[in-house]
Symmetry: C2
Subunit: 513 residues, 2 copies
C-alpha cells in the first residue's frame, strides 16, 4: 500500500488542519478573498451549497414554512431590547456608521464626516430581533398561528480566528423563525426542525449525527432550550452542524409578539429559531474526504458522473465525442436518489489523465474515461471515487459494457451514497468510548499523546448554575466541551463523574470545532 501516490501532498494522519485547507484549495471549493475573514466560494464549493440549499428548501417548504427576506441591517435599539441576546452577540458585530465616502485629497477615500448615521446599523449576526418586530405586526389573533417563516441569507459575526467554511466572518445560512400559541406548539416545531436536520445530515450529506439537547451553558443567547446535531470529524473532534432553539416568550416579550386567544385575552407567543449554514460543507469535507481530496456524497454532488473523452486531436475525435454524448444522454434519462442523474461531459482541452485527477480531488462519485478502443468495443472504463486504488496501487478502473453501466448507474450511485454513510458511521462508532468512570480516566483518555481521542459518552447529573460552571471549568482545562444529550438515549444509570451525583441522562464529551 505504501506505493500509492496520493493526490494531495498532506495526509490526514500528518496534519489534519493542513490537509483540510489543501482539500479546499485543490478541489477549488473556496479561497481567501483578501477581505478579512471572508471567503470566495468557487463554483465547485458553491455548486455543493446550491445542492444543499435546494434539498433543504424542499424539506422546509414541505413543512409548511414560507420563505421571506428581511433587512441586512438592524438598528442598534433592536439589540438593546433583548439584553440576554445582546450579551451573546455584542462582541462580534460589524457596525455601519456612515453612508457615503469622499476623496481624502490624497488619492484615497474616507467615510464622509457629513454622512454619519444618527443611529449606527448592525450587519445582522442573526435575525431574531428584526423578524420578531415583523412578527409583532403580522400576528394579531390565534388564527394567525403558527406563523412559520424562513430566510436564506448572509450573516456576519466578526471572528478573530477564521477557518474556511467552519468559521468565517460572513457566512451563508438559512434561519427558520416561528411563532406559536403555546409552549407545546413551539417545542414540537423545535424538535421537528431538529429531526429535519438529523435526516438531512444522515440522508443527503451521508453524515451520521447525534441529535439532542445542549447543556445550559451552550444555549443560544436568550434561548430556553437549544438542540443540536453533532457530527464526528475524522480527527475525532465534534462539529456542531445545526441547531434549533425553543426561545420561550422572551423574544416575543421584547418584540411585542402577542395574539388574542379564543377567549379574547392577549397572550405572548412562544417562538423558535433554527439554522444550518455553509459550515455543513466543512462537515462534509472532514467526514468524507480522504488523502486524495474530497469525496462528495452523490446526493449533493453538482455532477454525479463526469465523462472524460480521451481526445487526440485527430479524425477519430468526432466519433469518440458522439459515443460519449450517447452515454451522457443515456445516463441523464436515468433517475437516482429521486432525481435525474447529473452528468458532465468534460470537453475542455487538456489530457484526460490530468483532468481525471482534478475530478478525483473534487470528489466526483464516478469518473468515466473513454478512449477510441472503448468506443469501438462498446465499453466504458469506470472509476469509483470511494474505491480509488486497486491492489497494485493504481487507479482502480473497471471495464464494463456501456449498456450494462448505463443500466446500473442509478443503483451504483445509490450504493455509493449508502456506502459513504456506512463508512462514516463505522468510523464514528469505533471512536465513541463508554467505559470512562472517573475524572482521572477522562484525563488519561484525552492525554496529549492520543491523536484521535473521539468522543466519550458519560452519565450526567444535569448540573445547572454554579455547579455546572464548575464542571465546565474542569472540562475546559482538558480542552473539552459538552456536545449534547442524545434524544434517543437509553435511561442513564450510575454516577456522574463530575458531580458524584446519580446520572439522570447521557451526554457526549469531546474536543470540538
Amino acid at each position: 500500500m505504501s506505493a500509492i501516490r496520493h493526490a494531495l501532498s498532506t495526509t490526514r494522519e500528518d496534519d489534519f488542519a493542513q490537509w483540510y485547507q489543501e482539500v479546499i484549495s485543490e478541489a477549488e471549493m473556496a479561497e481567501e478573498s483578501g477581505v478579512r475573514g471572508c471567503m470566495v466560494i468557487r463554483p465547485w464549493g458553491f455548486g455543493i451549497w446550491e445542492r444543499i440549499q435546494r434539498l433543504m428548501d424542499d424539506r422546509i417548504k414541505a413543512a409548511g414554512v414560507e420563505n421571506c427576506y428581511f433587512p441586512l441591517f438592524i438598528p442598534l435599539e433592536y439589540f438593546a431590547r433583548e439584553a440576554e441576546h445582546v450579551e451573546g452577540f455584542a462582541k462580534e458585530m460589524a457596525v455601519v456608521t456612515h453612508h457615503r465616502l469622499i476623496a481624502d485629497g490624497k488619492g484615497g477615500l474616507i467615510p464622509d464626516p457629513e454622512a454619519k448615521l444618527e443611529e449606527p446599523l448592525v450587519v445582522r449576526p442573526t435575525s431574531e430581533t428584526v423578524i420578531g418586530s415583523a412578527m409583532a405586526r403580522w400576528v394579531q389573533s390565534w388564527r394567525d398561528l403558527p406563523l412559520l417563516t424562513n430566510q436564506w441569507a448572509n450573516v456576519v459575526r466578526w471572528e478573530m480566528r477564521t477557518r474556511m467554511f467552519l468559521r468565517t466572518s460572513e457566512f451563508l445560512w438559512q434561519e427558520g423563525h416561528t411563532a406559536h400559541a403555546d409552549r407545546e406548539g413551539a417545542m414540537e416545531e423545535t424538535l421537528r426542525a431538529l429531526e429535519m436536520y438529523r435526516e438531512f445530515a444522515e440522508g443527503p450529506l451521508a453524515m451520521p449525527v447525534i441529535a439532542g439537547e445542549k447543556p445550559e451553558n451552550e444555549r443560544f443567547p436568550g434561548a430556553v432550550a437549544t438542540y443540536s446535531i453533532e457530527a464526528m470529524m475524522q480527527d475525532g473532534k465534534a462539529l456542531q452542524a445545526g441547531t434549533t432553539h425553543y426561545l420561550g416568550t422572551g423574544f416575543a416579550k421584547a418584540a411585542g409578539i402577542q395574539y388574542q386567544d379564543k377567549d379574547g385575552a392577549q397572550q405572548l407567543c412562544h417562538t423558535t429559531s433554527w439554522g444550518v449554514s455553509t459550515r455543513l460543507i466543512g462537515g462534509v469535507i472532514m467526514t468524507h474526504g480522504d488523502d486524495d481530496g474530497l469525496r462528495v456524497p452523490p446526493q449533493i454532488a453538482p455532477h454525479q458522473i463526469v465523462i472524460l473523452p480521451m481526445l487526440r486531436d485527430n479524425d477519430e475525435d468526432e466519433a469518440l465525442l458522439a459515443y460519449c454524448e450517447e452515454i451522457r444522454r443515456g445516463l441523464c434519462s436515468q433517475s437516482a436518489l429521486g432525481e435525474p442523474v447529473r452528468v458532465l461531459l468534460d470537453k475542455r482541452p487538456g489530457k484526460a489523465t490530468q483532468k481525471r485527477w482534478g475530478w478525483v480531488k473534487k470528489g466526483v462519485p464516478l469518473i468515466l474515461e473513454i478512449g477510441g478502443r472503448d468506443a469501438a468495443g462498446g465499453q466504458v472504463s469506470v472509476l469509483r471515487r470511494d474505491k480509488l486504488w486497486n491492489e497494485k496501487a493504481k487507479a482502480n478502473f473497471q471495464a464494463k459494457s456501456k449498456d450494462e453501466f448505463v443500466a446500473q448507474a442509478s443503483e451504483e450511485i445509490e450504493e455509493i451514497q449508502r456506502s459513504l454513510f456506512e463508512e462514516a458511521r463505522a468510523k464514528r462508532d469505533a471512536n465513541v468510548v463508554r467505559r470512562i468512570d472517573s475524572m482521572e480516566a477522562l484525563k488519561e483518555h484525552f492525554g496529549e499523546d492520543k491523536r484521535y481521542p473521539g468522543w466519550v459518552e458519560l452519565g450526567w447529573s444535569r448540573a445547572t448554575g454554579a455547579e455546572l460552571e464548575d464542571v465546565i471549568k474542569q472540562l475546559k482545562a482538558l480542552k473539552l466541551t459538552f456536545r449534547n444529550t442524545p434524544a434517543d438515549a437509553e435511561p442513564a444509570s450510575g454516577t456522574c463523574i463530575f458531580t458524584g451525583k446519580p446520572a439522570v441522562e447521557t451526554i457526549y464529551v469531546a474536543r470540538a470545532y
Copy 2:
C-alpha cells in the same frame, strides 16, 4: 361598468403611485421594515422572486456560466483603484467602521472605540472590483478564457428616496461577471446576456421590452458600452429592467486580469457585467396590475391555481375536501409552460368569499370555488384573474365539468400567459409616438396636462461629449431621459430634433423610474 366595486381603494387612474403601494400592501408582497430604505419581502413577494431566480438561473447555467459567492464587504482600496467607477458609486455606500459594540453605560449600545477598523469596509454596491481581484488570480492563460461567473446576492446603495422593489437601499439581484480574450468575445457575451434578459422579460414575465444600447451619459460607471431592456409601465413611464455592460479593458487593468496568449505575450482581458434585480417585481406589478390588485403571469406565479373549498363546518366538509383533493391531484399531474402545474388547496379557516378576494389581490391566475353542489354535480366554478368581471359587474365565475377543466387547465394557463403579454404589448405600442419632429412638438407632447404621455421614438444624431450634455440639459428641463437605441430598429432617416444634424439611429425618450 361603473357598478364594479374594485378590490382596491385607489385606481391607477386616480393616483398611480398610491395604487402601486396599495397593490404591494394588499397583495402582501412587501412592507417597510423599520430600517431606513430596507424592505421586508413577504412570502407572496418572495415566492415570485424565487420563481424569477429559478427560471433565470436555469438560463444562466445553460449559457455555461457558473455561480460563485464573493464577500459582502469590499476594502476601500479596491474602489480607489478604479477612479471612474468610484466616481459613480462613491456617493451612496454603507461603510463599516467598527467590529464590536459595547454598553454606553446608559442602557444602550455604541460602537466600541477600541474596535475601530484600520481600513473601513464598504458594503458592496456591486462586485466588479472584488470579483476582478479574484479573476486576476484565476486567469493565467488563454486556456482559462472565457471565465464566466455569476452571483446571486444582496447589494446596498444608499438611497435618499426609496420606493419598494423599484429603489431600495438593500436589494437582491444576480450579477454576471465574465472575462474574455478580446473585444469580440466580450461583446458577444454582453449581447447574449441582453438577449437572455429580453427573452426572460417577454417570456416568464410577459413584459414587453425594448432591448438596446444606452447613450453615453447613461453608461455604468467605467463601462465602454451599456445596454438595457426598457419596459413601459401603465402610467407611460419607462422602467430600466436589466442592464448589460461591456467594460473594455479598464477594470482588467485596475485589477490585473491578464492572460498569456498563444504566442506567449501578456494581454489584458476584456470584461463584462450584467444584472437584474428585485426591481423586476416592480415592473411586473406596474405592467400587469389592475384596479383589483396584482395579476401574476402564470410562469412566475408561486401558485397558478388556488382551490377554495366552501367549508360549512358540518358533516359534508369531509366529502367536499376529498373532492377538492382529487381535483388538486389531477391538476398537479398536468404540465404547463414546461413545468408541473402549481396548485394550492387553501384549507385555512375563513369564508371562501373573503379568501377569494385575498387571492384576487395577490393575482393568482385561476381561482376555483367549490361548494357541495359542485362536488355533487362533478362541477367546478372557475374565475380567471385576467377576466375578473362579467357584464353585470359581478365576479365572472364559469361553471365547468371537473374533468373538462382539469384536461384543459394547461392550455388555459398558457393562454393566460400569452394574453397578459399581448395586452401589455398592445398598451405599450399604443403609447409610442413617432411623429414628433421638433423640440416644440416634444414639449407640447409632454405638457403638464397629459397624464400618460408614453414614449417618443426619435431620430438621433448620436451626439457625444459637450453636445450630448447640452441635449441632456434640454431633456432634463422636460423631466425626460433617453432610454435606449433599439438593437433591431430600421435605419434612421431625417433630422435629429436636438442637434439639427442628420439622424443616424433611433432612440426612445421618456419619463422614467
